[in-house]
Each structure stands twice: as structure tokens, then as C-alpha cells.
């Protein structure tokens, strides 16, 4: 059994309760802007809700999942008790406090600026300070992951770091560095203006800083999912991981190339020149590489499991897979959504195609499919897999879990496919109301209504998930044994130093950030003609 069970459970419960609340807000938003609902009497409620939904789903929920999972990986893969557990609790409390501090002004309508901040709009300072507390809390986790690994390495000189821990620490470093962009934006630009120390702000520079965070944060959300692909799935379905080395290479590639590509979010922005947009576009193509490698390795690993179970033929083995196993189901759904979402992502990354769908509902559809779909469905799988080891009780019926996963998959497809379609028609994002009686908007009405219906299915699935975990707290007592990760087909005898540590790769990550962001940032920071007056929101 894991040693820090209470700590890990606290992280997961806070994450999933916050997720449930934000899920309800999301579904309400889908409903209220669809033709199923009448004219919203106060559009400000919509933007308030949208700010809360984005802040919780973007900053609080995935961060807590990565942290809780990270502590579990540390104890189970390194086979040592977590060092610095008090610090870990301090980090957890900072996140809890930060979430409350941020959500109070948001719920009062004093900070309806969305989780992407959008200066020169400026909201109540407590909102930004709350977000900073959440990030600081997560940085404690980054420090702990690094310290725990270092102590293990000292005690085990020359041994290969287990893949799960190797990936986990890579993810923590990626998060530490990518959060710096938004931190600079908040600390140097937004918070001073919000506190009234300054009254002007460079909106263009703020957008560049935010893009530094905005793309790689997605890969931070993705890390627990990829760790589950490599180290949980093959074990859970009775197979072997095809290649340990390719896993390490993929995680290193994420660490290095997830960072210097964020300006593709600013393709349509006037404050960045064409040259750097092209460089970031090309690097964005590169970040598809670790995903292509992963898809191959995981499909091969799954095939090994099928053949061990007697599967035959070039494709016939698929039927031999343990489809009744919730983890098998989750990874299959996750891959389907990753496929569609990834194809959409390739469209977004090319400047020419992006102009058709930039900032339309297509983009919202895209990241809900990738994050809400491919990534979050594996968070469910991680929770199901880990829960008996945290509670010491069996989790109950697999049938309920399969139903929950099916509902999430179906709900996400019904929500996001019409969402993509109306985006192509040019429907803009983040609007509280659409006048569907206008002949130009009428073709969008049916799709938006279908999409809202998908949102309701997601709510049912989300609450079913919470109910399964809750019931699991009171299930039959059961000693689940030690928590383990997948064995590779050919366990590496010796791993080269470059694939067992991070020094070179962290240096490359920082170096590439400097080359790809240094000039666009300095060019704007050194000009004195780009600051504009702040527009305070929520003041009567």
C-alpha cells in the first residue's frame, strides 16, 4: 500500500469536486447560449461562469491530478516513502486557499476577465493573487519531485530511473518553466495595474507572455495521460510495454519542444512579426512527433497483450483484447479522440488554414475534444486504477465504470463535433447570446442545440464518476498489494545518461525559449509607445 494515501486522496478529491462544479457551469453555458434557452437577462452571468469554468478546469483540476498522481508515482515506482510530506500538504493548502481567494471575486462579478486574463481589461486583484497562490503551491510539488528523485539516484547509482518517475519529473519541469510566462504577465504587468500602482499596460506584450504558458500548459495537462498510456495500460490489460527507450525519448521531446511554440496562438496578432510566427509554426509541427511515436508504441504494446491472449491475424487480434476492462475501454476512447483532436490541431498550427477558424467555436471544440476528451478520460482511468490502493477497498462494479466511460466518450463526441462545424461557419467564441432568428445564424442553431445535449450527457457521466469514487470509499475491505507499473518487453539493462537525467534537456528547453521568445519579448518590452490605459471591469 502507498504510504501517503491521505495526501494523494486529498489531491484527487479536491480536483474532482472542483471538476464537478466546473462541469455544471460548462453545461449551463452550453444550454444558455443555445436556441433551447431564451435571451439571457444578464449576459454578465455568462462571462462570470465562463471565467470560473476556465480557471478551475485550466489551473486547478489538472494541476491537482498531476500532483496527486506524481506523489503516487514517487512512492510506488521508487519504492521509498515521500520525502517532504509536510511541504506537500503546504502546497495542497496553498492551492485550496488560492482557489477560494480567486473564486470569491469571480463569483461576485468583480473579475469577469476569463482565465486568459485579457488585459487591458483588469479585474479585482484577489483573482490574480489567487491564481498566483495556486501556481506557487504547484511549484512546491515540482521541488519535491526533483528532491525525491535526487535522493533515490544517490542511493541507486547507475540504475535506470523507472519510466513513470522519469516522465513525471519531466512533466514537473515543463510545468515549472511554462508557468513562468503567465507569472511574468501577472507579477510585472497585471497585478501592479490591478492594485492601482500603474494605470497603463502593454496588451500586446501580455499576449506574448501568456502564449509562453498557453501552449505548454496543455502538455502539462497531457503528462498524466501519457504516463498512464505507457506505464498503466500495458500492465492493466496483461501485456508489456513495447519500448522503454521510445517512452523516454517521447517525454524528452515534450520537455524540449512543447515550450518554444506558443506564438501559434498569436498568428492573428499584430504585435508579432511574420518571421517568428513561421518559426513557431514549424516547431509546432515538431511537437506532433512525440505523439506519433507514442501512438505507435502504445498500439504495439496493446497488440502484444492481445497476442498473449491468443489474438491472431493482422487485425483480428483486436477482438482478443480485454474490452470489459475499463482501462482498455478508456485508452481506446482516448486514442479515437486524440486522433480527431490531433488532426484538428494540425489545421490550427498552419497559418493559412488557421485564418478560417481562428477564435471561432472550432477552437473551443478542438481543445474540449483533446483536453476534456482524450486527456480527462485517462484521468478517470488513473483514478479507477489507483483508488483501491488509496482506500484499501475494492471499487465495485466494472459495469458502472464502463457505462461512465461510454457516456463520457459519446457525450464528448456529440458536444464537440457540431462545435467544430459551427466554427467553420464562422461562429465566434465566448458569446452569451446568439440571435438565431437572423437568417445568417439560422444554419448554426441545430448544431448548437445538439452540442448542448452532449453537454448534458457529460454532466451525467461526470457525476457518475464522482459517485463511483465515493462508493469506493465504503466498499469491501481488500488488500490490493503493491502498486506497480508496466514492464517493458525488453527491460533496458543500462540506460544512457542522456535518457536517465534532464540537465541537457532542461538547458535545451530554456535555450529554445530564449531564442524563440527573446526577440519578440524584448522588442516590445523596450518600446515605450505600446502601453495603453487599463479598462477596469466590475466597478460600478
Amino acid at each position: 500500500m502507498l504510504h501517503s494515501r491521505k495526501l494523494i486522496l486529498a489531491h484527487f478529491w479536491l480536483a474532482f469536486i472542483a471538476f464537478g462544479a466546473a462541469l455544471l457551469l460548462g453545461a449551463w453555458q452550453m444550454f444558455v447560449r443555445s436556441p433551447l434557452s431564451g435571451w439571457i437577462s444578464n449576459p454578465e452571468w455568462y462571462y462570470r461562469s465562463l471565467t470560473a469554468h476556465g480557471t478551475v478546469m485550466g489551473y486547478v483540476f489538472p494541476t491537482l491530478v498531476a500532483m496527486g498522481f506524481g506523489y503516487a508515482i514517487t512512492e510506488s515506482s521508487l519504492k521509498q516513502n515521500l520525502i517532504g510530506r509536510r511541504w506537500a500538504w503546504a502546497g495542497f493548502l496553498l492551492i485550496l486557499m488560492g482557489s477560494v481567494v480567486a473564486m470569491v471575486p469571480v463569483s461576485m462579478g468583480l473579475a469577469s476577465v476569463l482565465y486568459t486574463f485579457y488585459p487591458p481589461m483588469i479585474g479585482n486583484p484577489l483573482y490574480y493573487i489567487g491564481v498566483v497562490l495556486v501556481v506557487v503551491g504547484s511549484w512546491i510539488w515540482v521541488g519535491l519531485m526533483s528532491i525525491n528523485l535526487r535522493i533515490w539516484k544517490k542511493a541507486h547509482p547507475g540504475e535506470a530511473v523507472p519510466l513513470a518517475m522519469f516522465a513525471n519529473v519531466a512533466g514537473s519541469y515543463l510545468w515549472a518553466w511554462t508557468a513562468v510566462g503567465a507569472a511574468l504577465e501577472l507579477l510585472l504587468q497585471i497585478i501592479p495595474v490591478s492594485l492601482g500602482l500603474k494605470s497603463t499596460i502593454d496588451a500586446g506584450l501580455a499576449r506574448v507572455f501568456f502564449s509562453w504558458t498557453l501552449h505548454a500548459i496543455v502538455y502539462f495537462w497531457l503528462m498524466p495521460t501519457y504516463i498512464a498510456y505507457y506505464t498503466i495500460v500495458p500492465r492493466a490489460i496483461g501485456g508489456r510495454l513495447y519500448s522503454d527507450t521510445m517512452g523516454r525519448i517521447s517525454f524528452i521531446l515534450f520537455l524540449v519542444v512543447a515550450m518554444p511554440i506558443g506564438i501559434h496562438h498569436a498568428f492573428a496578432d499584430p504585435q508579432v512579426g511574420a518571421g517568428f510566427k513561421f518559426i513557431h509554426s514549424a516547431f509546432t509541427a515538431l511537437v506532433a512527433l512525440p505523439t506519433l511515436l507514442t501512438v505507435f508504441t502504445i498500439c504495439a504494446s496493446v497488440e502484444i497483450a492481445a497476442r498473449l491472449r491468443g489474438g491472431r491475424g493482422p487485425f483480428g487480434w483486436v477482438t482478443a483484447l480485454p474490452w470489459k476492462n475499463p482501462i482498455m475501454l478508456a485508452v481506446a476512447f482516448s486514442f479515437v479522440m486524440l486522433g480527431f483532436g490531433g488532426a484538428g490541431g494540425l489545421i490550427n498550427m498552419s497559418y493559412q488554414l488557421d485564418t478560417t477558424i481562428h477564435n471561432t467555436q472550432w477552437i473551443t471544440g478542438h481543445f474540449h475534444l483533446i483536453f476534456g476528451g482524450a486527456i480527462v478520460i485517462m484521468y478517470f482511468a488513473i483514478a479507477y486504477d489507483l483508488w483501491p490502493h488509496l482506500t484499501g477497498r475494492s471499487l465495485g462494479s466494472e459495469w458502472l465504470m464502463r457505462t461512465q466511460l461510454w457516456l463520457w466518450f459519446i457525450g464528448m463526441i456529440i458536444t464537440t463535433f457540431p462545435w467544430h462545424y459551427v466554427g467553420i461557419l464562422g461562429m465566434p467564441r465566448r458569446m452569451a447570446f446568439f440571435d438565431y432568428t437572423s437568417p445568417a445564424l439560422q444554419p448554426e442553431a441545430l448544431s448548437v442545440a445538439i452540442s448542448a445535449f452532449g453537454g448534458f450527457i457529460l454532466v451525467i457521466s461526470g457525476f457518475l464518476f464522482l459517485a463511483i469514487l465515493y462508493r469506493g470509499q465504503f466498499g469491501e475491505r481488500n488488500e490490493p498489494g503493491s502498486y506497480s507499473f508496466a514492464q517493458a518487453l525488453h527491460m533496458p539493462q543500462k540506460v544512457p545518461a542522456a535518457l536517465n537525467g534532464y540537465a541537457l534537456w532542461v538547458a535545451l528547453m530554456i535555450g529554445l525559449t530564449v531564442t524563440n521568445y527573446g526577440y519578440p519579448i524584448l522588442q516590445l518590452a523596450l518600446r515605450n509607445d505600446t502601453s495603453v490605459p487599463a479598462v477596469y471591469v466590475g466597478v460600478q
Binding site: 485579457y118 496588451a203 519500448s243 521510445m246 512579426g273 514549424a282 481562428h358 518487453l489 509607445d529
Partner: protein, 185 residues
């Protein structure tokens, strides 16, 4: 036994390497396509960063009110100047001729807005302090909605403009005796 293990590992590594090679080809191909389209078809983002003081737009320079709307240049192309502000565009209806190169120059007077013309590739951010430039040619006469595509505070859902595309002749007759033209009421 050790030999079969080694043999299996060799096959695994070879297969994996072949796939990595295919994956790299895909990536290089995609980046190459984007570069080709950018250079060959001249579909590139604006090359130069231009700045402007949003607090002085109404006092002078190219975005004073009398200068907004569509203008015909010496080479026959059309330049459209527009402003986004909470929660409307000026002009609220943009008039352009079909089959004529059009350059849109726009900026924001307050917060970040976006300018998207439905049914076209015109889609740009309006960031206060900077001028956005985009070129386009409208194929046929017709009307397009032009929503603000970026959240700009509580009235965002009401910020919709319009683009009216007319034939060249119709546009020139609307232009007669005027320096700037629009279809705003």
C-alpha cells in the same frame, strides 16, 4: 533463449526506427507545405509591427472619424480603415467592391477585440496600441456578418458588424464625389 531475446529486440528496434522515420517525413512535409503556401501564394501574416496610441485616435492620424471606411488608392485597390471599440465597429457596415484587392487596416480604441468576416479568410485580432493589416479579395457580391471574435467584456455578444460586397461599378458610383464610403446608416 538469450539469443531469441536479442533477435526479438533487434526487430523491435528496427520497426520502431522505421516508424520514427515515417513520422519525421510527415512533420517535414507539413512544415514544408506551410512554407510553400506562405511564400508561393503570399498568404503570410503582416510582416511589420505598427504601433498607434489608442487614446489619440480621434484627434489625428489615419483613424480620425472622417478617414474611416473604404478609400480607392491610385493603383485601383481599396483600403478599408476601421476601429473596434466596446461594443461596436466603426463603420458598422463596410462597403467593398468584388474582385478588387482590398487591404483592411484596423485597430482598437480600448480593449482587445477581433475582426472576423464570415465565409472568408479575413480574421485578425485588434489589440489596442497596434495596427492590424490584412489583405483579401472578395469574389462575388453579397453580405457577410462581421462579429467581434474576442471577449471584450459584458457587451461582447452584441458586437456584430457587416461587410457588404457590391460590384465594381456599383462601388465606384457610391464613391463618386466622396473620399471615404461605407454602408453604415
Amino acid at each position: 533463449m538469450a539469443d531469441t531475446h536479442k533477435h526479438g529486440q533487434d526487430i523491435a528496434v528496427r520497426t520502431e526506427r522505421n516508424w520514427a522515420f515515417v513520422a519525421i517525413l510527415i512533420i517535414v512535409g507539413l512544415a514544408g507545405m506551410a512554407a510553400f503556401a506562405g511564400i508561393h501564394q503570399a498568404t503570410m501574416p503582416q510582416a511589420v509591427v505598427e504601433t498607434i496610441d489608442p487614446t489619440r485616435l480621434h484627434l489625428g492620424g489615419e483613424f480620425v472619424e472622417a478617414n474611416l471606411g473604404s478609400a480607392v488608392e491610385a493603383d485601383g485597390s481599396v483600403t478599408v480603415r476601421a476601429i473596434g471599440q466596446q461594443y461596436s465597429f466603426t463603420p458598422a457596415c463596410i462597403l467593398v467592391p468584388a474582385q478588387t484587392p482590398v487591404t483592411i487596416r484596423a485597430t482598437s480604441a480600448d480593449v482587445v477585440h477581433g475582426l472576423l468576416v464570415q465565409g472568408t479568410n479575413i480574421n485578425t485580432m485588434l489589440v489596442p496600441g497596434y495596427v492590424s493589416v490584412q489583405s483579401a479579395t472578395f469574389k462575388a457580391p453579397g453580405e457577410h456578418l462581421m462579429p467581434c471574435q474576442e471577449f471584450c467584456s459584458v457587451g461582447h455578444e452584441g458586437m456584430w458588424g457587416k461587410v457588404k460586397v457590391v460590384s465594381k461599378d456599383e462601388f465606384l458610383s457610391a464613391m463618386s464625389n466622396k473620399k471615404r464610403v461605407s454602408c453604415a446608416p
